[in-house]
Each structure stands twice: as C-alpha cells, then as structure tokens.
C-alpha cells in the first residue's frame, strides 16, 4: 500500500511537471484560462448561429453548456492517460525503465492521470464560472446538490481513468494509431453520451449504445447536481431518481473497472510477447 502510494505521488508529481513546466507560470495561467473559455465560446457561437439569435432557451442552453463543460474531463483524461504510454515510450524513452521498476504500472498511470484531472478541473471550473457569470447559466451554490456532485464526480473520474487505462493497454500494442484511438473513443462518447443533445435524438441502436456507457449517466448526474430544479425533458434519463442514476453510474463504472484491468493485463502481456514495451517508431 505504501509502495503504491509512493508510486501514485511520484507519478502525479511527474505528470504535473510535464503539464505545467513547459512555460513560465504566468503564461501557463493565461493558457489555463484562455483555452477553456475559447472552447466554450465556439459552442456559444454555434448555438447563436443555429438559432439565428441569442441563447433564449435557457434550459436547453444550460444542458448543452454543462455537458460540454464536463466533457473536458473525458477528453483530457482519456487522451492524457493513453498518451502517457506513447509519450514515455516514444518521446522520452523511459517506459522500459519505469516498466522494469518494482511498481504497479497501473498505479503509475493513475498517478499520471491525477495531474490530467487537476488540469481538467481548472478548465472545467473556468468554463463553469464563465457560463455562470458571463452567459447567465442559472447555477446557484445554495440550491445545487453538493452531495450528488461530489459523489458522482468521484465515481465518474474513477470510471474515466478505468476507460483510459483500458485504452492504455491497447496503446501498448500500437504506435501509429494511439492518438487516433483516444480521439476516436472520445468522439464516440461525444455523440452517444448526450453531451450536446439528448440521446433520445439518436436511432434505437445509438440509444442502446449510449445507455451502456457510464459517461451518459455521469453527465446527467452532473447536470442534476448543478441545476436540480431546471432539467431538460425528453433526455431519456429525465425521470430517473438520483439514487438510480448513481446506481447505474456505479454499476457501469464497476464493469468498466474490471474490463480495464483485463484489457490492460492482456495488452501488457501481448506487448511483452511482441517486444513492444520499448518500441520506438518515430510516430
């Protein structure tokens, strides 16, 4: 346990250095604020252009805005976790050195993911503050469901890291396509998990797929936590009570946790068999 904690902290420290050390602190601060605000503005302008005017339907706008804000976690964590394998192996050529050290590689990746979650949290908070104070998203700190927020955020992060680790297992076997796999999976989640439109808009098979992915329940739970009194109807999850929403999230997250262990171990074994742990391909 102590060893795993040490691995987590060491990997977390390394991840933070990599995320924050590429420029001076002031520029890093500007970047941390400007990037999520710019990303949010893209969505705002698209919404305005499509509706031919300002965002008048506040419930729908809040649905889209909050979904998009929390989706920052999905992109950052999934991409970040799998990128650890690619970056350590190809760019820094340290993967083999970490691999042969007496640590749980699983914990190493979780540690590295920690810094991604921290960076993503800054981006999500900046986006939310921008939405609340500039765009008028009616989130009220006194009426929001803090317990639901903390609980589902924790379970959601564990779930995202698990999915990331599963992808990391696949990345062990790939070089050229590792970036594409992360972005492809994140893109699938963007379409099928009710990020900017309810999954009821999807064909039946698409809805079934959406219901099988924990991110769908997680995003809905986040919206319910922040805006408990103002929920968009017809999302497919609108009528579900918080308890069942959390239960569905927990069960699907647990399934993905075990799946991630299985896929990661398989990827690890196959990579070791194929001699890909220290592969450098210049991709």
């Amino acid at each position: 346990m102590k060893e795993n904690l040490r691995t987590l902290l060491g990997a977390g420290w390394l991840g933070w250095q990599m995320e924050a050390n590429w420029t001076d602190p002031f520029l890093f601060m500007i970047y941390s604020v400007a990037k999520p605000v710019s990303a949010a503005l893209i969505l705002v302008f698209m919404y305005i252009v499509i509706l031919g005017g300002v965002a008048t339907e506040s419930t729908a706008f809040a649905y889209i805005f909050l979904g998009n804000a929390f989706f920052i976690y999905v992109g950052q964590v999934l991409f970040g976790v799998t990128w650890v394998i690619h970056e350590d192996r190809e760019h820094f050529q340290t993967l083999k050195l970490i691999y042969i050290s007496p640590i749980s590689f699983y914990y190493y990746i979780i540690g590295r993911a920690g810094s991604k979650i921290l960076i993503a949290t800054v981006a999500v908070v900046v986006t939310l503050l921008f939405g609340i104070f500039i765009l008028g998203i009616p989130v009220d700190a006194f009426t929001m469901d803090w317990a639901l927020l903390v609980l589902c955020l924790t379970v959601g992060m564990a779930c995202l890291v698990s999915i990331g680790i599963a992808l990391a297992g696949i990345t062990f076997m790939t070089a050229k396509h590792s970036g594409g796999i992360n972005e492809g999976i994140a893109g699938l989640f963007y379409v099928f998990c009710g990020v900017v439109f309810p999954i009821t808009q999807l064909p039946a098979w698409g809805q079934s797929l959406g219901y099988a992915i924990p991110v769908t329940y997680w995003l809905e739970a986040m919206r319910k936590a922040l805006l408990p009194a103002q929920q968009l109807e017809g999302t497919g999850l609108h009528g579900i009570e918080n308890f069942w929403l959390v239960a569905l999230l927990a069960v699907s997250a647990l399934f993905f946790y075990f799946l991630s262990i299985l896929i990661f171990r398989l990827g690890d074994y196959l990579a070791r068999r194929a001699g890909k742990i220290d592969m450098t391909t210049a991709y």
Partner: protein, 333 residues
C-alpha cells in the same frame, strides 16, 4: 543452487508481420529472425560477467528478456531463481538496467529531479535518495549539472546520469547494455572504473555487461561469453579464452590496398583471418591467426602476387579479438 542468472535453451524469435510476408518473395517462415537460439548460461552471484558479440548478435535481446521487458519464445530464463516469464515482480525488486547510446530521460526535468523521481519508484526514502544522488553526481563529475534540464546535457553527461540512475537503487543484479557506447575516452574510463569498483565493493553484487569493445570486456570481466548469431560460441575467463589461441600466433600485416583479400583464404596453416580497408591511406590491414608460422611465406607471396607492397608485419600476443576471430571467423567491427 540459485544462480544470479540462468538460462536453459533460451530462444527468441521475432516474427515478421504477415502483411510483410505476403509482399516478400521468400516464404513466410524464412522472414522470422532468430535473435537467440538455445542459449544456456549460468552466472554466479558476485560475478562481473561479459557478453561479447557484434551488433545483432543477440546481446540486447538477452538483456531485455532478463530484465522482464520481453518474453522468450521458448526455453527458460531465471534471475535470482525467479522465472522471468512467471515471476517478473520479485526480479524487478533486485535488478536495474542501463543501456548505452540512448536519449532516455524527461528533458523538462533537471538531472537531480529526474534521478529523484526514479528513486521514488524503487522505494528509496526521499532524503536518502537525494543524498545518494548528490554523492554520485559528484563521483561522476557532473555535480555542476545537477540543476540543468536533462535536455541540455551532452551525450556523455546524459549517459553518466543514466548510469547513476541504474546504480543509485543499489540493485543486486545490474544489466549494462553497452554502457560506454559512443562516449569519449574519459567518460568511458569513469564509467568502467565505477562499474569495477561497485561490483567489488560489496560481495554478492552481480553485473551482466554486454559490449563489443574487446578492451572493455578484457579489463572488466571475470568471465565472458562470446555470442554470435544468437548462440553462445564460448564461455570462460578472458585468460582461458586467450589460452585457446595461445598456441596460434596473431600476425598483423599492413599492405597496399588489396582488391581481393579473400584470395588469401585457404592458405594452409591459417586458422582464421580478417581484414580492414583504410581508404584514406589506400591500405589494407590484415590480421591472421596462424597455427604454423611457416604460413607467413605463403601469405607474403599471395599479397605480393596481387601487386601490393607490405609496409609492416607485427606479431602480437593473442587478444580477445583473436579469440573472437578464431571462433567466429570474422571481426567485431
């Protein structure tokens, strides 16, 4: 008895992808590369054991298997009695690895930070780790680079830091894969001296060193295995290996550029020979291992027949290179 390292009929074949096979004109099975073939080795605790062979002989593949980075295709490999395939974790607790000619390291971190981070993965308390790192940075003469970003270090400095990373965890068994590759004389000497001192400082420390530098192998190793094309061709102390060719003589000729040195093959009394062309000087350097010195007359006449003039002839004591040439039939370079 548990050996530090033991391999039994260890074989590693790298399969070539099917897609490539189809494009190839030759049959699929012929595309597979046998990196190691039935390797049997026993390295005792406390030995500084060398693996000598040319590029592509299988040295790095063997190190990768022993470090738990790669699985064998068949056969067995044990490190401190643990099967590399089934029990990698106990092995990882007692080993470390340093490879030469690499650019590994987190360029954004300083030398000290980079080393500290690795120390944390080996469970060394932070304070103790920093003390060890500082001592070793000083011993390797790169103390002034402690706060320099890794990306700014020169090749030699980076390799010294790499060696520190390997040794600071105080492993029972360390695998050194060409640790002085591409380094200047001074940096190589510092690293060789450190390795030699380290293994003799405390009993039970084992080093497996791969190299294609004969002098390095001769100077450092208690025992040596000569590896070529994935197989072990000889294994003994450097002294005993040299004895195997001591009855033979090693003769070095420097002659004008020879268009066809292979014509010298087949002279009676020659055990083996190698040659190197020196384009700049327009000369050819020939090394003969001869069982019978009467072969010298024939060698001279064959060289002269090609219209070349002999500039020098030297008889040397047998070296590991001669052993290698005698066993493998070619030079290392």
């Amino acid at each position: 008895m548990n050996y530090a390292v033991e391999t039994k009929d260890l074989t590693r074949i790298f399969r070539v992808k099917k897609r490539r096979r189809r494009r190839s004109e030759s049959k699929g099975s012929e595309q597979d590369v046998t990196a190691l073939k039935d390797v049997n080795l026993r390295i005792e605790e406390g030995e500084l054991f060398g693996l000598l062979g040319p590029n592509g002989a299988g040295k790095t593949t063997l190190i990768k298997i022993l470090c738990t980075l790669l699985l064998p295709t068949s056969g067995k490999a044990y490190v401190a009695g643990n099967d590399v395939e089934k029990d990698p974790y106990p092995i990882r607790r007692i080993i470390n690895m340093v490879s030469g000619g690499e650019t590994s390291g987190y360029g954004l971190l300083t030398t000290r930070e980079n080393l500290w981070m690795f120390s944390q993965f080996y469970g060394i308390p932070s304070k103790e780790a920093k003390k060890r790192i500082d001592e070793m940075l000083e011993a390797f003469g790169i103390w002034d680079k402690r706060n320099a970003k890794v990306r700014t270090l020169s090749t030699g400095e980076r390799q010294k830091a790499n060696v520190i990373r390997g040794f600071m965890t105080d492993p029972s068994i360390i695998f050194l894969d060409e640790p002085t590759l591409g380094l200047d004389v001074n940096a190589s000497r510092t690293i060789r001296k450190f390795i030699s001192d380290w293994v003799r400082e405390t009993s039970g420390r084992t080093v497996l060193l791969t190299t294609h530098y004969m002098m390095e192998a001769d100077e450092l190793c208690d025992r040596l295995a000569i590896i070529d094309e994935g197989g072990i061709v000889a294994c003994d102390t450097p002294r005993n290996l040299k004895k195997t060719v001591s009855k033979a003589s090693s003769l070095m000729f420097e002659a004008d550029y020879l268009r066809d040195p292979d014509k010298l093959k087949g002279i009676e009394g020659i055990q083996n020979f190698t040659y190197k062309h020196n384009g700049q000087m327009n000369r050819t350097l020939l090394t003969f291992i001869v069982e019978d010195e009467s072969a010298v007359a024939d060698i001279v006449s064959r060289i002269v027949e090609q219209g070349a003039k002999i500039h020098s002839l030297e008889k040397r004591e047998p070296t590991l290179e001669d052993v290698f040439v005698s066993l493998v039939g070619k030079g290392l370079a």
